[in-house]
Amino acid sequence: MSKVVEEKKEVTIVFAGDSGDGIQLTGTQFTNTNALFGNDVSTFPNFPAEIRAPQGTLAGVSGFQLHFGSVEISTPGDNCDVLVAMNAAAFKVNFPRLKKNGTVILNTDGFNARNLKLADYDVSPIEDGSLNDFRCIQIDVSKMTRITLVDSGLGKKEVDRSRNMFVLGFLYYMYNRNLTATEEFIKEKFSKQPDLRDANIKVLKAGYNFADTSETFTSRYNVKAAQLKKGKYRNIMGNQATALGIIAASQKSGLDLFYGSYPITPASDILHELAKHKNFGVKTFQAEDEIAAICSVIGASFGGKLGVTASSGPGIALKGEALGLGTILELPMLICNVQRGGPSTGLPTKTEQSDLLQAMYGRNGEAPIPIVSASSPSDCFNAVYEACRIAVEHMTPVIFLSDGYIANGSEPWNFPTKDKLKPIIPKIKKEKGQEAYLPYKRDEKLVREWALPGTSGLEHRIGGLEKENETGNVSYDPDNHQLMVEIREEKVKKIADSIPLQPINNGVEDGDVLVLSWGSTYGVVKTAVKQCVEDGLKVGHAHVRYLNPFPNNLGDILKDFKTVIIPEMNRGQLLKIVRDKYLVDAKGINKVKGIPFTTDEIIDAIKLHLKD
């Protein structure tokens, strides 16, 4: 039967199932197809720490949230219009976020007695009236998949594994998208297993055709392409953008990339991505532990390379002593922290912004390190590139802060070309001059020269002991130590002169409330502030990328508003630093649930403070 086509400006879909159901893959495919179509998109994967948590349990639910539209999309969406649940547990976990009158697509096979028991249901939610206010599409996906592949010769396990393709095909029909991109993906993924390739494509098409011919729903949806800024786009995940930004910095600076790291969630994908690009001269070293990772980077930096390591909070804690060494040596290196919930092992697969104070202060002695943070998946590219530039041009370790939310999230990226990237100029001393080489002699920015092993006449020794000004010889002189501590501090402060001033990113330039944010909260704060401004409130939004040093004008901006509020996925870390540095009575909005803020949470907080 023919179906009515309804126009939609934006849609949020949550795919949910067991962590072995291929949910992340299904979500990613649906995202890529929509992005290629021209929608603006934002995604948020949410999966358990266990690789294969017990099947059918609440703990084992893996989710993928996708927000796409013909309008500007800045967040993965607070609540969803459509919930795809492969079993009862997946339904239970995500149902509270389904909008009133939303659509739920259920795999009925995942609601059998066993599934219901595992999800703690006495009565199936399909039968107890819970779904009365929603549109419910019930499909026995397992059965349909098995029928489709009855002649495939594949075993039951392999057949069931392609169930996700049925759902994907179904949604492609529902949202009026073609199958081409996913077909190409399947062909590449299973290029060496033709039986699996054919099976997956067959099931994908079966899902599509089933949606077309069955009477499970009556209207299809059309989400037109978004009016994005002119240019070329691709879809990109945060960790991938981080890896590309690092390679770009290596290419532009002319320094080969050395990447030493130890596997840790959620940072490992940076290693995986970099390891693919050996033809860029990239050397990736999977070290025996976090300490060896940062130390190998120090060795490589001493050797004249762009040394980079990445980890998450617990790993960064282990690197602390070596970061102090990097600081006193004054060698360029980049340390990426893809933050996750803490303390200790905490919530490895969930997001948090609770390592800002660690980045700022987490070393012995006075050891200031510049910090740059990313605000969205694609922004990881720009932010990490800037972090590398500062490291190389200012001869210092730099910490780049990302988090699990943007690391695994994705969005369209208006990618740059090589010639549009800022130059990065290393301060390498190429040959011996008239005077003896002084390793800690500085220029007006207080940056020393980098002399590399292999350069005749510049042989020198550096180390972790306090060094005499200019010569770098070991010195225990009290005045010299005071001087050197101050010089290293001043050197980092001076970086503020070579970074952009802080803009007001959204909303009014001065007024009642300034929302000051950093990191992955950008999208949600932007959406909230825009909404408030539309409602006639005098609210501005400044999003701080450079956290150490701050842009020179940040203090002035804070004074232009009656109230400053700082939303963070921590207990108030930027808040502490801002209050300390600028003596403003800023207020925190703090959430530590392992999941990002919703727009309403920010709006409510703004309105609450407007009343004060």
Partner: protein, 339 residues
């Protein structure tokens, strides 16, 4: 500047005052290392010394090459990163028993299995000197120190056995008080392509004086030291009158009055099984019937180096995919255009 390859030991001394305690064994090692440098055939600027923390780790400050005095236990990891990124450099790691075997134990074994072409000088004085006299992971059981007033209850590491256990491709032992032997072993180690581990018995005359005296004192050394030479029988004793013979799998001391030299254990540097037995010659010299302590090259083997394989993987990637093109990398394969 023209390349100057003809150096003397003096060219490797810096203007810094050497600050070890008077009488420290480290002086002798510094002298021998400086003396073999001209024989490496390498330009001074291509040589790098990396150390951790401890008395011995001051070493790089006294070598007029490139150098880094780093943090405790991590010289091995720093040298690994340097060697991967600059395979052409001659990299030397200076470490001690605390630095290499206690706080840096993990990096040591992983460096060894990867077999970077590095030279590691492990100064073993069986004590923590810089922190003023606590027992170390090589101190013998019962050792009385500041932190073990009634004797250590730690069983010590046998460093060379540990290294061989991590599949070391070169292990040797020498001592500070035998400069000639030290020089010979340093040269052999420097020529080995792969990680060469040289354990140097080094006397700490302040906190552990005489720890190795039985191996250096004229009165005892001949009966306590077993000098290993490739292709030669294991002979020792004042009159070269004793030898080691394998009885089954058990090394046994025999008198050369009773057994012919031809029937002794002939040392073969490339025999991994016998090398394992040799590293087990680790008896307490005060125990009756103990085996002598071997010095020299225990084992050497040619095995691929990590940094070489990494270089060849990169070369292969370039051959296969061409030199990386940043613009193509940034665009990826799924691009759409908004007009």
């Amino acid at each position: 500047m023209a390349e100057q390859l003809v150096y003397t030991a003096k060219d490797f001394a810096t203007d810094q005052d050497v600050r070890w305690c008077p009488g420290c064994g480290d002086y002798s090692i510094l002298k021998q290392v400086q003396s073999i440098m001209p024989e490496l055939g390498r330009s001074k600027e291509d040589i790098v010394f990396i150390s951790g923390i401890g008395c011995s780790s001051r070493f790089p400050y006294y070598m007029d090459t490139y150098g880094m005095h780093s943090i405790h236990g991590r010289a091995t990891a720093i040298a690994s990163g340097l060697k991967i990124s600059r395979p052409e450099l001659s990299v030397w790691v200076i470490t001690g028993d605390g630095d290499a075997l206690s706080i840096g134990g993990n990096h040591l074994i992983h460096m060894i299995r990867r077999n970077f072409d590095l030279n590691v000088l492990l100064f073993n004085n069986e004590i923590y000197g810089l922190t003023k006299g606590q027992y170390s992971p090589t101190s013998p059981e019962g050792k009385i120190t500041k932190s073990t007033p009634v004797g250590s209850i730690d069983h010590p590491f046998n460093p060379l056995k540990l290294c061989l256990g991590a599949d070391s491709t070169f292990i040797a032992r020498t001592m500070d008080r035998d400069p000639k032997h030290q020089r010979e072993i340093l040269l052999k180690g420097s020529k080995h392509i792969g990680t060469s581990i040289i354990e140097i018995y080094q006397n700490c005359n302040v906190f552990n004086d005489g720890a190795f005296e039985v191996y250096t004192d004229k009165a005892t050394k001949d009966d306590e030291v077993l000098m290993l030479e490739h292709g030669q029988p294991l002979v020792f004793g004042k009159e070269d009158d004793k030898g080691i013979r394998l009885v089954g799998s058990e090394p046994t001391v025999v008198s050369l009055n009773e057994v012919s030299k031809n029937d002794l254990w002939i040392h073969n540097e490339h025999d991994k099984f016998k090398a394992q037995l040799l590293t087990s010659f680790f008896d307490d010299p005060s125990v009756e019937g103990h085996l002598p302590r071997p010095f020299g090259v225990f084992y050497s083997e040619d095995r691929f180096r990590y940094e070489e394989l990494m270089e060849s993987q990169i070369k292969e990637a370039v051959e296969k995919k061409g030199v990386g093109n940043l613009d193509l990398l940034l665009s990826g394969s799924n691009v759409w255009e908004v007009a």
